[in-house]
């Protein structure tokens, strides 16, 4: 069995799961300033209240799986992106405690500051996740011993920034579609009006990213050219995005959300297929790239982890689905709420 391939897929699935699940939490945070009323803001917080920390666990587990299966990739990327990841951590901390603390006091100034923290944390985290992915796709300087050889400012190159903006717009679109599913009445009607503009904003960003990828990233376009079957994914992606306004129009908000989830999974699948087998592409010296094959743990460890995942993942999926089922339906703010 090709364990390196399997774990490349599993790590990808975990990060894709993170993007799909925490993506709407972060998107809700980015949308918060457009809702002014305090009761309505509480609806936003409580729409993600019961699930956000379970969603963040996908990032923790994805990071753990990367550490376990591909230690050199984890070590190189995390030490190379030091300041960016520290900022990401600060952003995630503010996001988390803002949800926890915000509604514990009634004072307007208290709530205003935590709302700012929630917005800034969510937006910064989304942006930095996009910047990190943009750098991984573009390629980063790696030396012959596998260490990052670039600088922090070097990471803020145009393609990565563009990817950051695209990620924020993607999460905002996803968050709005999620909120549309969880809200009702006047608030829902207002959120509904946001969906189409957000979809258009995302499509514009994504079109520019795709163009930049095709023009400037030969190692990804080569893969696309070699495997025309990938166009099937691209077509599915277009269909999934186009399906969202249709479902919203027919008032099927649950299916609109699933369509949005499918969009994100297809995006991650395209990203993974375009990268494989590279995990960190080395520019300008591609021979130093870290791949699923030269940077993996031993076969024995991957085998053990496969057993752990085979036992654990179905259980995790089962009760994650149950929790979402129990908290299905429209948000009700009660005394136990945030």
């Amino acid at each position: 069995m090709d364990y390196a391939l399997l774990w490349f897929v599993i790590v990808g699935v975990l990060f894709a799961g993170y993007a799909v699940l925490d993506g709407f939490d972060l998107g809700v945070g980015a949308l918060l300033p457009w809702i002014k009323d305090d009761d309505e803001r509480r609806v936003l917080y409580n729409a993600i209240g019961p699930v956000w920390d379970g969603n963040e666990v996908w990032l923790v587990t994805g990071g753990g799986a990367l550490f376990a299966a591909f230690p050199p990739v984890y070590a190189t990327v995390f030490s190379g992106f030091y300041l960016a990841f520290m900022l990401l951590l600060f952003a995630l901390i503010f996001r988390a405690v803002a949800i926890e603390f915000r509604s514990k006091e009634p004072w307007p100034w208290w709530r205003r500051w935590w709302d700012r923290g929630f917005f800034a944390g969510s937006t910064t985290a989304s942006f930095l996740i996009g910047v990190a992915m943009g750098n991984i796709a573009w390629g980063i300087p790696i030396d012959e011993s596998g260490e990052f050889a670039g600088t922090f400012l070097g990471l803020l190159q145009p393609y990565a920034l563009l990817m950051g903006v695209t990620t924020v717009s993607l999460f905002m679109m996803h968050g709005a579609i999620y909120l549309h599913m969880k809200t009702e009445g006047a608030l829902q009607a207002r959120i509904r009006r946001w969906i189409n503009p957000l979809i258009i904003a995302f499509i514009v960003c994504y079109a520019v990213v795709t163009l930049a990828t095709l023009l400037y990233i030969p190692h990804i376009t080569d893969v696309l050219r070699a495997q025309p079957v990938l166009f099937v994914f691209a077509i599915l992606l277009v269909l999934a995005i186009a399906n969202i306004p249709r479902e919203v129009h027919h008032g099927r908000d649950g299916r609109a959300f699933l369509s949005s989830c499918a969009t994100m999974l297809l995006l991650m699948a395209l990203f993974g297929l375009g990268m494989f087998p590279h995990m960190v592409y080395s520019l300008p010296n591609p021979q130093y790239s870290l791949t699923a094959y030269n940077a993996s743990s031993t076969r024995k460890t991957l085998h053990t982890m496969t057993i752990i995942a085979a036992i654990g993942v179905p259980i995790v999926l089962a009760y994650t689905a149950s929790v979402y089922y129990i908290f299905r339906g429209k948000v009700k703010v009660t005394k136990d709420s945030y």
């Binding site: 379970g54 995390f78 030091y82 995630l92 901390i93 011993s145």
Partner: protein, 474 residues
């Protein structure tokens, strides 16, 4: 300051701050299971009310644990990249298992625990509470397995450039980045010589932390004559768990120390400030290590250390003088923190026995009795003791492991990220310092406010006598 010392300060600071919360969630999680089980059995609304109050406290603590925990997983890679490459083959599977088995379990069922009171039945809610507590305990399992493997590596071998290194090979500076530990046997890694002892000792320390939080709040309400029924009952749950936990701390601490004597003699020597190798090793009650004169001053039981680790006064214990200076851990902090932990451990045993005696004599509820009053006055600040002991114990274990990051294989100084510069760590350290200070103050504020606010009045219920309801509200 160089990158090594800065990275060590940052890791110590972030892990110590994080570790204020998980012991409370592990211990309090168990208390919640006890309270809800009692409620299901008796259907007395008092227990339901208690479970709801403590669940809210639990939620606050858990939120901070989640927010500060993710930092640690990132830091292995950001600050300790060489170490991550070196141990990834072993450490990573434990971390991934922690994510899959523990974190998902806690956070998934936490939603039901916190927000599911009206959405699911009592049986399913109790199940969710059990799963959160179980998940919290699991999360301790894997991280302690990983940490214990660093203390006593087993089930693995050293590999250089993809080839097994000869036994006893010492890493050279040029090997760094091309060397890694490779797993031979997963179960030998999990059950390495120190993991089970240390797991037991850590978990009962966490139980103490949760138990004495409940004891402290209960005692505070009793002294203030507020929520009397709630306070008395909370105090009993806390004392029962506190007594078990503090006695078990003694037993598990003893077996951990035997393990340290066998596998990490330099750590034991530093913990006890022992300089000369020989039999009849003394056991210090407290003391001061004079590292210049290589002597330790303080009252000691002659032969006590030999007796405790081997049951035999003639047991030879290795002294620091027989350990090369570059392989000795920092002695004074190891000694002092270890003795601080032990002293607190014994005070907690004393305090919980005292409380249980009062309970047995039916004197716990009456703060006018002088003995009860003194006990309650001591019980209020007792919440700090397990926290200090847990921190001191971990500092002993981790400082005592120096200079190694992986015992006998990799030094702490060799595990750093090569590409991270001192000014970057200074920047992140300042960031963590400010943010954690803010979080800590807010946590204390919100916790105090929650305790001041107290439990909600017991809900109207036909199982409650009317008079009793009135007393509750008063």
């Amino acid at each position: 300051m160089n990158v090594e010392i800065l990275s060590r300060i940052q890791f110590a600071f972030t892990v110590a701050f994080h570790y204020l919360y998980p012991p409370l969630s592990i211990g309090l999680g168990l208390v919640l299971v006890m309270m809800e089980a009692r409620w299901l059995r008796t259907r007395d609304p008092l227990y339901h009310n208690m479970a709801r109050f403590w669940t809210k406290v639990f939620g606050l603590i858990f939120g901070l644990g989640v927010a500060t925990g993710i930092v640690l997983e990132f830091e292995f890679g950001t600050n300790w990249a060489t170490y991550s490459r070196f141990v990834g083959d072993i450490f990573g599977s434990a971390l991934a298992a922690e994510g899959i088995f523990a974190f998902f379990l806690e956070s998934g069922f936490l939603a039901i625990l916190l927000f599911g009171w009206d959405k699911v039945g009592p049986g399913l809610h109790f199940f969710a509470t059990c799963m959160v507590a179980l998940g919290a305990h699991f999360s301790a399992v894997w991280i302690i397995v990983a940490n214990s493997w660093q203390q006593t590596p087993a089930g693995s071998h050293l590999e250089l450039h993809g080839v097994p290194a000869p036994a006893g090979y010492r890493l050279q500076p040029e090997d760094l980045g091309h060397a890694r530990m490779v797993i031979d046997d997963f179960w030998e890694v999990v059950f390495n010589p120190s993991s089970m002892d240390r797991l037991g000792h850590t978990l009962v320390g966490c139980w103490s932390a949760g138990a004495f939080l409940v004891v402290s709040v209960g005692a505070y309400y009793l002294l203030r004559r507020r929520h009397l029924e709630f306070a008395r009952s909370s105090l009993k749950f806390g004392l029962a768990l506190g007594l078990c936990a503090s006695l078990l701390s003694l037993a598990t601490g003893h077996s951990s120390a035997i393990g340290v004597a066998r596998h990490q003699p330099s750590k034991l020597a530093a913990m006890e400030g022992k300089w000369e190798t020989g039999p009849d090793a003394p056991l210090h009650l407290f003391g001061w290590v004079d590292t210049k004169a290589e002597r330790t001053h303080g009252p000691a039981f002659p032969g006590g250390l030999s007796l405790l680790i081997a049951g035999d006064r003639n047991q030879v214990v290795t002294g620091l003088k027989d350990i090369p200076p570059d392989l000795r851990p920092p002695i004074q902090p190891t000694f002092q923190l270890f003795h601080l932990m032990v002293a607190i451990g014994f005070s907690l045993i004393g305090l919980s026995i005292w409380g249980c005696l009062l309970w047995w004599r039916n004197a716990l509820h009456d703060p006018t009795r002088p003995l009860t009053r003194v006990f309650l006055l001591l019980a209020v600040p007792s919440v700090l003791l397990p926290q200090i002991a847990n921190q001191a114990g971990w500092f002993t274990a981790e400082i005592g492991r120096q200079p190694w990051i992986v015992w006998g294989f990799l030094r702490t100084s060799e595990g750093l990220s090569k590409v991270v510069k001192a000014n970057q760590v200074v920047a992140s350290l300042i960031g963590f310092g400010l943010i954690y200070l803010l979080l800590f103050l807010l946590f204390l504020y919100l916790l105090t406010r929650k305790i001041q606010h107290g439990p909600e009045p017991v809900e109207e219920s036909h199982t409650l006598p009317k008079a009793w309801m009135k007393q509750q509200r008063a």
